[in-house]
Symmetry: C2
Subunit: 384 residues, 2 copies
């Protein structure tokens, strides 16, 4: 069950609605990341208040701990983590190539060692479907081979070709798993091809030949390449995106990246930056771009962290108090900054939707990006 409806368009940007077994998601949408079945430090009710309509969890982490069979027996990830709204699980592809110690990549799959205890495991396309089926997320991802950031054309091409072969195996396995009942889970293919726009476009064409998918994801970007290279890939894909496929840019990103990508037709985003930055004492704010809450000038600042924000943190506490919590190494600081940063991203996506619907997206996004980046530059200097 996966239905996508476009509700408005403005250039390549568009708004839409994805209907899933556990609810609907207004797009463009930012998905908070709950790596180990929890958005770090944040409860379900806080995610509701933040306005998160869908969250992401990591197949690799949950497979290793607590194990997908344990999760299946607890009612899947929805039951296990008490999250009633839509969920997306990634394929583990990115993690086995970034976190785990790789032993061997074969046509069959990837042998790797757990980053937790060094134990040896094999992920195949079939295995990854089994695991994601046990986890039971609304949207699941095909198993992909991620070529390293600056991969040569030959390496990127091989990874992209294998990802396409694996896609067919994923599809077959998911069909076997779901013959018993209605297909409540929807799998999305992932395009690889590193920063080579022609490979990416070739991947999109091949994916379209293989089947009529409900949507598509772009993987292997935002892994250290120049931002311009990411935009070139999206611009190459833009003319050939099927209009009715929602497009998910995996692992992206920072606030300005999200706006740039929405302008290039992207509908779904996820990133650990809101919670990771929050844990480091960094927050995004409307006026100043990005601020370090430890900054000495916050010492006696009684204003909310972001006077333009409506999150719990900004409704309740002052900059002076937040700075004190960060300085004192208090747990509450991590929570409050994570809540703010998550709300900042979720609300930014909502504001982009409003601008698209009202036909003002081009002007709004240009102005917003200029202000955010100017603020960040000022802050960068202030922090030095």
């Amino acid at each position: 069950m996966f239905a996508y409806t476009i509700t408005s368009e403005a250039g390549a940007a568009r708004t839409g609605r994805i209907t899933l077994p556990h609810g609907t998601v207004e797009t463009p949408a930012f998905m908070p990341v709950g790596t180990q079945g929890t958005v770090k430090g944040i409860t379900r009710e806080e995610l509701f208040d933040i306005g998160a309509e869908i969250i992401l969890a990591n197949t690799y982490h949950l497979y290793l701990r607590p194990g997908h069979e344990l999760v299946r027996e607890r009612g899947g990830l929805h039951g296990f983590m008490s999250w009633p709204r839509p969920l997306l699980t990634d394929s583990g592809g990115f993690q086995v190539f970034s976190l785990a110690a790789i032993n061997r990549i074969e046509e069959e799959g990837v042998w790797f060692r757990s980053h937790i205890d060094g134990s040896r495991h094999l992920f195949t396309p079939e295995r990854v479907m089994d695991i994601q089926h046990a986890l039971g997320a609304d949207i699941i991802m095909a198993f992909d081979e991620c070529a390293p950031g600056g991969a040569s054309r030959a390496v990127a091409m091989a990874a992209h070709e294998r990802t396409l072969r694996w896609l067919e195996r994923c599809r077959r396995r998911l069909a076997e798993l779901t013959t018993a009942g209605p297909a409540v889970q929807t799998m999305l293919p992932i395009l690889q091809g590193s920063t080579h726009p022609d490979l990416r476009l070739g991947a999109l064409r091949r994916v379209r030949e293989i089947g009529d998918w409900p949507g598509v994801a772009v993987g292997g970007l935002s892994v250290g390449e120049a931002k311009a290279d990411m935009w070139k890939v999206l611009e190459a894909l833009q003319p050939e995106w099927p209009r009715d496929w929602p497009r998910y840019l995996m692992g992206v990103g920072y606030p300005d990246d999200m706006i740039e990508a929405i302008a290039r037709g992207i509908d779904l985003f996820d990133c650990v930056a809101p919670t990771r930055n929050g844990r480091n004492g960094t927050a995004w704010v409307e006026e100043d771009g990005q601020v370090n809450v430890k900054a000495a000038r916050f010492r006696t600042d009684d204003r909310p962290l972001d006077p333009a924000c409506d999150c719990y943190t900004c409704r309740t506490y002052s900059r002076a108090y937040l700075r004190h919590l960060v300085q004192a190494g208090e747990l509450l600081a991590l929570r409050l900054l994570s809540i703010h940063n998550l709300r900042f991203m979720v609300r930014l996506a909502a504001r982009a939707r409003d601008a698209i619907r009202s036909g003002t997206f081009a002007g709004w996004s240009t102005e917003w990006l200029a202000r955010f980046r100017a603020g960040r530059q000022r802050e960068g200097r202030a922090d030095e």
Copy 2:
């Protein structure tokens, strides 16, 4: 402003109500500890949900960081930490004797070095009143000299005598500070005297000679002495407590300690154990006393942490999920277990009040203590 009304009595135990500038507190009451101006990891709304009517903050910590003048300028501790209900600050006495490096104890006061940066500071009775006046809590504590746990009679006597002399200086200073307006803060004296019942009783008599106080605290207990010694001190004081003084047993305690002390006429409690144990993966539960949430048998346990509890954690998540969070080192585990343990203590005080009011306290408390201790023993064996 401090008014205490007794609402029922059952032997030495009693229920009452303390009316303070920021609200009322039903006693016996457990006060969560917000050492640095935050109950570790917990928001204001969570404290409301837990049912906390008053919380405690530490003068020593807030004086060092962020500084009491900064807090005063932010509207005092109530404004700074956005806490609208009653607050109590301790005197810093316990901390300078336990956390800081002591340089010199003189009649004038105590020279110590900060545990944060080694800087040198002097706490005198007057200085401690100035600081607590700036922090602005509803209840403040007199500056006391804490004799070490196993102090000899001579050492304990000297500390208790000095505490009494300092009490008079505290009272004078507070009077000077509040001539300008109505006395919104109420200072309580602290009885010292280590585990010597006669010294404690002597301290109580001297405190009564010095003035007519609104209440009294017992300090320097629960610092490693045998529990029986603590109960002997309370039993020595019992015949001479002024009936209309609420009695605060500082730093106590664990659930069973609180019930034992209520039976001996104590009205107010504070302890860091609920949040500290929570951060260590330990929880109190009705049936089993104390459990380690990492226990293997919780792996597939879909029940709430404590089926008898009404806290957010028990209403929302399963033991299996909490165990996963603890195993995975997730921040959310600390929060959820702290919330449960705090609610356990606040609710236990409320249950004791109900039992006192209904005249069933003697039977209820005996039964409750037997069950809690039997559970803890079973668990102790299960954990081995």
